[in-house]
């Protein structure tokens, strides 16, 4: 992966939403479900604005001030995982305008996450046949679907 590679969400095969500090995603081609929280949510928000890897690193580092080296490493590892799952793609062919990101707005929106940087963890649910059988009221743990009680894991 090069610094000037442009990272894009793999539309229309990938859909995503962020609820209460958690981003959920589906790769509609294979049905796999994903989620992440904490710093992953902030990185994802910047990714959705079609930035190059370089820009992405610069913006996210700016948001998580004072932890530059750590943040840069985390971004590279995280983006590689997203690419491996086909959630994002590198697209240098299409001319895409980067959006004008309001960094201050993101800082305000995610102030709880930013104040305490933690590495993002990509949760992958690839065996959806079993997960879809879970009754979301009775078979799930305190986190709620798709996190099943121990006996259903």
């Amino acid at each position: 992966m090069k610094d000037n590679d442009r990272i894009k969400v793999n539309y229309p095969h990938v859909v995503h939403d962020t609820i209460e500090g958690e981003t959920i995603l589906v790769n509609l081609k294979n049905g796999h479900y994903y989620s992440f929280d904490k710093s992953g949510v902030v990185i994802w928000e910047v990714i959705t604005q079609n930035q190059t890897l370089n820009e992405l690193s610069r913006i996210v580092t700016n948001i998580f001030k004072g932890q530059k080296e750590k943040v840069e490493n985390v971004i590279t590892v995280f983006v590689e995982k997203l690419i491996a799952e086909n959630l994002v793609i590198i697209d240098n062919d299409e001319i895409v305008e980067s959006s004008n990101l309001d960094v201050e707005e993101i800082k305000l929106k995610y102030k709880d996450i930013i104040s305490n940087f933690e590495d993002p963890v990509l949760h992958v649910y690839a065996d959806m046949q079993d997960v879809l059988l879970l009754d979301p009221i009775h078979d799930t743990d305190e986190k709620g679907w798709p996190s099943g009680k121990d006996e259903f894991q």
């Binding site: 859909v15 939403d17 209460e20 589906v26 509609l28 049905g31 879809l132 709620g144 679907w145 798709p146």
Partner: protein, 386 residues
């Protein structure tokens, strides 16, 4: 109307759940707290209520509610969001098939409501794709699906369905279901002209595929007609759909046009009752003149009979001759447009002939006659023997 478990009008518990899911003030919080004391969430809740939980979650989230079951509700929302996203993605294959065959399409119910009205793919769980094609393209649409190996639910009744029915259910190899409609609803559908519902349809995108949706006024009519009838699964979501359609800031309901459609399709009774309910319980912003205007419309006996029967279990099988004939007469009346009793009788005979085409009338009569009277003759003999 008195509410029961399967009634289209909510029970007290269901009304609390709806209040918590729809209103954006303290009443929602009070309602959820009371609902949680009355309903055993660790037991079994009715499916109609279950289908409201994603909407409940989003409404409580907006109000920053931090109650004990929010993580569970969030899980229900995630599941609904996941399934609906998959359904939309799978819907594209059907829409593309019809587009290639130059068949126009209108997406009905969940797909349209989620995108245009709720603006949230997760809040309204969906199980299949409901799609409307023009009446004159219905046969072609069926052939297109069959050619692609979609399996119809009742293939043998195709001619009957096209003439007297409104839709056919298809399933593909993966189990994905498409409910193909040529009339949006059953009621008085022989009045349905080819341009009805299509002239005012509005554009909508399903992921990246362009199609059409009913205009919000017709969506509201469809919501009422489809929702206000007996259902094994309490169909209370019509309350939420109608509430948000009326509340929409983006779309206005054309109330004059709405009244004309209600009159035309002879659905005054259910629509009036539904509107009164929405005003009384949820303070829906419905002009007083609309209900007033509907109150002035004369209801025919046929409409009364049809409405009364719609509140009963339609799957309740009978093999008694006269009960069966009455049920068939109601089905006939339901979609008929005749205005006097003589025309109704002629129309009903024609309907029966079409329904039993190719079958042995004599055997059918013998079957129902034996089922209806056999038992009572036998009982009479037993009494005489004793």
């Amino acid at each position: 109307m008195k509410a029961s478990a399967e009634s289209p009008f909510p029970t007290y518990e269901q009304e609390l759940l709806l209040t918590a899911s729809l209103l954006d003030d303290k009443r929602a919080i009070n309602a959820i707290e009371e609902w949680l004391t009355l309903v055993d969430l660790d037991g079994v809740i009715d499916h109609g209520s279950f289908r409201l939980l994603p909407l409940l979650f989003k409404n409580l989230l907006k109000q920053n509610y931090k109650g004990p079951r929010m993580n569970m509700l969030k899980g229900v929302y995630r599941l609904s969001w996941y399934k609906n996203q998959k359904l939309l993605y799978d819907s594209i294959k059907v829409l593309d098939l019809f587009q290639k065959a130059n068949i126009s399409t209108i997406v009905l119910k969940g797909v349209a409501l989620s995108s245009l009205i709720y603006k949230d793919i997760g809040v309204r769980p969906m199980f299949d794709l409901d799609i409307l094609v023009p009446i004159n393209q219905a046969k072609q649409a069926i052939e297109v699906l069959k050619k692609e190996d979609w399996k119809p639910e009742f293939d043998e009744y195709l001619d009957y369905n096209l003439k007297f029915g409104k839709s056919m259910n298809f399933t593909d190899d993966s189990g994905f279901e498409c409910d193909l409609h040529w009339h949006p609803f059953f009621e008085s559908h022989d009045l349905n002209s080819e341009t009805d519902f299509w002239d005012k349809a509005i554009p909508i995108k399903v992921i990246e595929t362009g199609t059409l949706s009913l205009c919000p006024t017709d969506m509201l009519l469809h919501t009422f007609v489809h929702g206000i009838k007996w259902n094994k699964e309490p169909p209370i979501r019509w309350v939420a759909d109608a509430y948000f359609l009326i509340k929409s800031e983006e779309f206005d309901i054309d109330w004059e046009g709405f009244i004309l459609q209600v009159k035309k399709y002879k659905v005054v009774m259910q629509v009036k009752e539904a509107l009164e309910y929405l005003v009384k319980v949820f303070g829906a912003n419905i002009p007083f003149e609309v209900i007033n205007e509907l109150s002035k419309i004369k209801i025919t006996l046929a409409e009364k009979l049809v409405y009364k029967e719609c509140q009963k279990d339609s799957d309740d099988y009978t093999d008694k001759l006269f009960t069966k004939l009455y049920k068939l007469f109601i089905i006939y009346l339901h979609q008929s447009n005749k205005t006097n009793i003589f025309m109704h009788i002629i129309g009903f005979i024609g309907y029966l002939c079409f329904r039993t085409k190719g079958k042995d009338y004599f055997r059918i009569l013998i079957y129902y006659f034996t089922k209806s009277f056999g038992k009572s003759i036998k009982s009479q003999n037993d009494i005489e023997k004793q």
